[in-house]
């Protein structure tokens, strides 16, 4: 079921949690709301669920399949909600927890005892917890509890599945496993899902599309690949992945920072303006000699090579830190030593000028 959020704002006293936010989620899609804490992502999720009411506004609406559900209570929206801290009923067994949503139905729509049992057992098999049906939540691990919570939410056959930092309380290893499992589950049941997370890896890995939020607003929406490689705002650029930030200036279609000059066609004025230039750690080459291509000198400060990539921290003559990721192969070929001076050849740079559209100066550009 498609979800449409239109012109939603929400204030808690003087704090603005959401500021005129609009968003569309397609039928069967898994969308991640990603942002730092306080960015409004959880509030947006809770408003979609009906656990929170948006501020009044003539154009404000929450539509499920083009039908306005703003007036409906959470129980009438057909949503399944999964909470960060599981929110399981601790006095009920796993089985009873999952069956709860079916047992509280009015008699006319309540399935028979056998149907409930069949359905709960199917769901427990789906979340791989069949053998735990008689356990109590306190006898399960965190990951198992969250799977129970998911089965419980799915038991009412929701049109929309909403997950609020579902793996936030789990340790890294479990989180990674559950993340992959959730994606497989979604491919299997195809229920329209919205996942709130502050873990970018999680969002980029699991979601069909990522919504990046900051300061009560949506910064950018797009497939993981797109938001990562084509950041539209400085916030997205800095928030996703690691990035080196340089302060520079633009003038006459060029951006300058230190010894380096980068093409920046959008700004052709003669008046100089400050600009920020971003370069990802993996978008550098390191060489011991200067050639004709744009480069700048830096001293190797620290080498960290225990991983899939060698991570080199360098310091420029101006005292700025630069982080560079090299493949282990390249690293082995170079045999870098801490303290030696090398030349960095940026392969790609993104320039942002305040109040101007961003532009990527990419590839084998000239000075």
């Amino acid at each position: 079921m498609a979800i449409e959020v239109a012109h939603i704002s929400k204030s808690f006293g003087a704090f603005k949690a959401l500021d005129d936010v609009s968003l569309k989620v397609n039928d069967g899609e898994l969308v991640a709301l990603l942002g730092p804490s306080g960015s409004g992502k959880t509030t947006l999720l809770r408003i979609i669920a009906g656990l929170e009411t948006p501020d009044r506004h003539p154009d404000a609406a929450i539509r499920f399949q083009n039908e306005d559900v703003s007036g409906r209570a959470v129980g009438e929206r057909g949503v399944g909600f999964v909470f960060q801290h599981y929110a399981l009923f601790r006095h009920m067994t796993v089985f009873e927890n999952v069956a709860f949503g079916l047992r509280v139905r009015r008699r006319a729509t309540r399935p028979s005892k056998e149907e409930i049992r069949d359905r709960v057992e199917r769901l427990l098999a789906l979340v791989q917890l069949s053998q735990f049906s008689r356990r109590y939540p306190s006898q399960l691990s965190g990951g198992q509890r969250q799977r129970v919570a998911l089965a419980r939410a799915l038991a009412v056959e929701p049109q929309v599945l909403l997950l609020d930092e579902p793996f936030g309380a789990l340790d890294a290893k479990v989180r990674q496993g559950l993340r992959a499992w959730l994606r497989r589950l979604h491919d299997e049941i195809h229920v329209t899902s919205v996942l709130v997370t502050h873990d970018q890896e999680e969002a980029l890995e699991v979601a069909d599309r990522v919504v990046i939020m900051n300061n009560a607003k949506i910064e950018q929406v797009g497939p993981p690949d797109e938001v990562f490689h084509q950041a539209k705002t400085e916030f997205v650029m800095e928030f996703l992945g690691q990035v080196n930030v340089f302060r520079g200036r633009v003038r006459l279609g060029k951006a300058t920072l230190g010894e380096l000059t980068v093409d920046y066609p959008p700004y052709k004025d003669d008046a100089e303006r400050p600009a920020t230039v971003y370069m990802r750690p993996h978008e550098f080459r390191i060489q011991r000699h200067r050639n004709g291509q744009p480069n700048f000198a830096a001293k190797v400060a620290r080498i960290h090579s225990a991983g899939a990539l060698a991570r080199i921290l360098l310091r420029t003559n101006a005292g700025e830190d630069v982080l560079v990721d090299l493949s282990l192969e390249e690293f082995g070929r170079l045999r870098l030593r801490e303290g030696e001076t090398v030349y960095l050849y940026p392969q790609n740079a993104r320039v942002f000028v305040p109040q101007l559209a961003s532009c990527a100066a990419s590839g084998e550009y000239a000075i």
Binding site: A49, L51, A73, V74, G75, E76, V79, G80, F81, F83, H85, A87, L88, F89, R90, H91, M92, F100, G101, V104, R105, R135, Y136, P137, S138, Q139, A149, R152, A153, A155, V156
Partner: protein
């Protein structure tokens, strides 16, 4: 969920199991066990026959019925209304909340005789409230109803104070989860909230009950203390002692002890069962 004992093999920061355990055993022996065994010994000296005779006397039986009956009713009322009071005090913010919260402890702090006199003044036929109840045919002071009222008065803080932390612990997400699964407000309350706080509610009930069974000061003022009608067991013990019938008094006391112990044991058993469910087997 919690392991109160922790890992037995792990070194503790604070030592002293030996000395604290020793103190606990000694303290319980001197303060609790010694007087109780003296009581039992004394009544045993009476011989089974006289013991039974004393206890099965109609006047004694009537006083037992009144004491345990009124105490049970009072504790039940307190469990119900104490839940509402505790709910209001933990859930909502309103002006005067702290004052109201402090008032809960008043029945605790007041000398029981003061409570008794105050209640009597209000509910006596010519009292503030009593004068309006009298024409309705409702007599409060000097009747079992008055006794129950006094027991409700003194038992309230026990229920409220045990429930408050349990209610404060309730996770709002649990209610939201129930609501999102389609449960009505009533279903959420009965199926989710009540079972979760039941162990605390039972503890509060047991404490209020125990207190009510032993209450003396406030009751003797609001009760007319008529044998067979409004005479509580504690008063009967006193009057036996006044007549130098120490053996008779201890016999009644021993019987009360046995009944109280049995009731608390039963409540504990229920509580254990409920708590096991609430905490999840184990």
């Amino acid at each position: 969920m919690f392991h109160y004992l922790g890992n037995p093999n792990r070194a503790r920061v604070l030592p002293g199991f030996g000395i604290t355990m020793g103190y606990t055993v000694l303290y319980l022996s001197v303060i609790v066990l010694l007087p109780l065994s003296a009581l039992l010994l004394k009544s045993a000296g009476l011989g089974w026959e006289r013991l039974w005779q004393t206890i099965s006397h109609p006047r004694v039986l009537a006083s037992f019925k009144l004491t345990f009956g009124a105490a049970t009713i009072a504790a039940t009322i307190n469990a119900l209304f104490g839940l509402i009071v505790a709910w209001t005090l933990t859930r909502y913010k309103f002006p005067g909340k702290r004052l109201m919260d402090a008032m809960i402890d008043l029945p605790f702090a007041m000398p029981t005789a003061v409570s008794g006199i105050a209640l009597t003044a209000v509910y006596a036929p010519r009292g503030w409230i009593g004068q309006y109840l009298e024409p309705l045919g409702l007599k409060v002071a000097y009747t079992p109803l008055g006794i129950t009222l006094a027991l409700v008065f003194i038992g309230l803080p026990f229920v409220v104070r045990t429930l408050q932390p349990a209610l404060a612990d309730l996770d709002q997400e649990i209610e939201e989860a129930a609501a999102s699964l389609g449960a009505s407000r009533l279903q959420t309350f009965w199926r989710v909230i009540v079972p979760t706080i039941l162990p605390a509610l039972l503890t509060g009930f047991a404490l209020a009950l125990a207190r009510a069974i032993g209450e003396y000061g406030s009751v003797i003022f609001i009760s007319s203390n008529l044998p067979m009608k409004t005479e509580i067991a504690s008063l009967l013990i006193i009057s036996k002692l006044d007549q130098y019938d120490v053996a008779g008094a201890t016999a009644i006391a021993a019987a009360m002890l046995a009944i109280s112990f049995g009731m608390l044991l039963a409540i504990n058993a229920v509580q254990h069962f409920v708590a096991r469910r609430a905490e999840g087997g184990a």
